[in-house]
Amino acid sequence: MNLVKHKAGRRFSILPYLLIAPLVLWLILTIFIPVINVILESFKNTTYVGTKGENVGLANYKSVLTDAAYWKSWGKSLIWVVGCTILQTILGFSVALLVRGNKRIQKIAKNWMIIPWIIPTIVVGIMWQWIFNGSYGILNKMLMSLNLISKPLNLIGGKGSMLTLIFINVWHWFPFTAVILLAGLATIPKELYESASVDGAGGLRKFLHITLPGLSNITFALGVVGTLWCFNIFDIIWTLTSGGPLDTTTTVPIYIYRGAFKSFKIGRTSAASVLTSLILLVFAIIMIRATKPKEE
């Protein structure tokens, strides 16, 4: 092995670089090259993939920035991310706090609850399409036989599609949130709660002053990673509504996918991708600064 003296007493070894090289090269080839490609394409008027576009300067950016549909899709994405995150957190918290008291239930929940998260989105879509379907779904049939509604609700494809999609996605993701929260809760020392009880603190005060601060070490995992992953979700929307009806569920990912593979505007969609990345980057930096656990 090639060993060179490095710093005082610390030997320089090439080995760690060789070990990490395959992964880093892989990521450079599959992420950084496409990123360069998308930046270059964003200045061209390429239409179909494989055709060559000409340089059009900033025209694509101008076109995207002035496109009401692009900003509308950001609005939808915002509703999507905020709606999903809030519901997931509430549901995840409820589950985590509910099962925490009982060791056996907690173990079962921790190991099995995650299942909705690991099944393919397309199957999640099929399951809920099958339950929610307007003409033969079991939900409508049940609500009608209970006389709660007089005619079937069009839950997927109707006006409230966004809400339905959020519900379905929360079903898909809240187990993940709950498992991470359970792990975070487990790191909070029991003595804190005991001494708070001695001091006469109630449930709510314990939650606000012990539980929430104690979870600060997972707010990064849930806050930054969770939000960006949620923003990125495409398949459940595409397979169930394709962004419709009337664009009510066209989030940014749908806007981009459609622009490239349905409207065949590669150049313009590349500009939209670059702009979206920049906005998300700013968001990520702010979030990382805000949620970073204090260095000890």
């Binding site: 998308v38 509910l98 190991n111 809920w128 079991i138 792990a183 995992a221 960006l228 495409f234 998300l280």
Partner: protein, 273 residues
């Protein structure tokens, strides 16, 4: 009395949540065994059981070819992931070298990078390097999205192995690579299970890139094929529910055996970050 009421409420909420999680699974499973003329009737239990949908799914749809494609892509993703993740996390969590935190950061950025922003350029690049419509294109991208998260998951597993073990092996004359093979990998079995299951599942469930990077029937993976079966004008619910059941079956079986390692890896990684 108040305590009893609170407990009853707790049990009711637990039950409701359990039903919420389990019912969709139950409902497609049960529906897939109903005969064609009763499948649209929402009976909670089939009037008569049939395997016709499974027979047709295997016989007349492209389910088997999609299953084959999915297995090829998932196994390929899994093997590559396992190798490069083990090597990289050994470097990251066992060596002190210049640029370590920079590499860690590059890997971190990749796993929070929204993949949807890559669909257009990845498609462009794959066309240029003539990998479009090849299972290899899917394997390549699945590794990209699974590997960084796997490295993150490995952190806790490496921390749990005392460095003194490495050191005593080194004193006995073992080289750094021998330490990896002889000491770390045998203890790291739960970690390896985590990589295997995560990379397999993330490849098995991937839809977005699979829907654009491959186009011929033989290369279509299960999620894409299922979407096609479901997306026809009149949805064949028999095929769709049977296909959904067979698509999640391998995942559930795998998860039953190594799921607990996966959960512990997931939670270790999340808490320590």
């Amino acid at each position: 009395m108040k305590k009893l009421l609170a407990k009853a409420l707790k049990i009711i909420i637990c039950l409701l949540l359990t039903i919420l999680i389990i019912f969709p699974f139950y409902w497609i499973l049960i529906s897939s065994f109903k005969s064609g003329d009763t499948i649209l009737v929402p009976d909670l239990w089939p009037v008569k059981w049939t395997l016709i949908h499974y027979k047709e799914l295997i016989g007349i749809t492209n389910y088997l070819s999609a299953l084959r494609a999915s297995i090829i892509v998932a196994v390929g993703t899994m093997i590559i992931c396992l190798i490069i993740v083990l090597l990289a996390s050994y470097a990251l969590y066992r060596f002190d070298f210049k640029g370590r935190s920079l590499f860690e950061r590059i890997i971190l950025i990749t796993y929070i990078f929204p993949s949807i922003l890559l669909v257009v350029p990845v498609y462009n690049v794959m066309v240029k390097v003539k990998l479009i419509d090849s299972p290899l294109a899917l394997i390549i991208m699945n590794v990209t999205f699974a590997a960084p998260f796997c490295v993150w998951l490995m952190r806790g597993f490496f921390k749990a192995i005392p460095i003194s073990l490495d050191e005593s092996a080194a004193i006995d004359g073992a080289g750094k690579m021998a330490v990896l093979y002889k000491i770390i990998i045998p203890i790291l079995k739960p970690g390896i299970a985590t990589i295997v299951i995560y990379s397999f599942i993330s490849s098995w469930t991937e839809y977005t890139f699979a829907s654009i990077l491959v186009s011929s029937e033989v290369n279509k993976t299960l999620p894409v094929a299922l979407h096609a079966i479901m997306g026809q004008y009149t949805v064949r619910w028999g095929h769709t529910t049977a296909g959904a059941v067979l698509t999640i079956l391998p995942i559930l079986v795998a998860f039953t055996f190594i799921g607990k390692y996966f959960i512990s890896g997931l939670t270790e990684g999340a808490v320590k970050e």
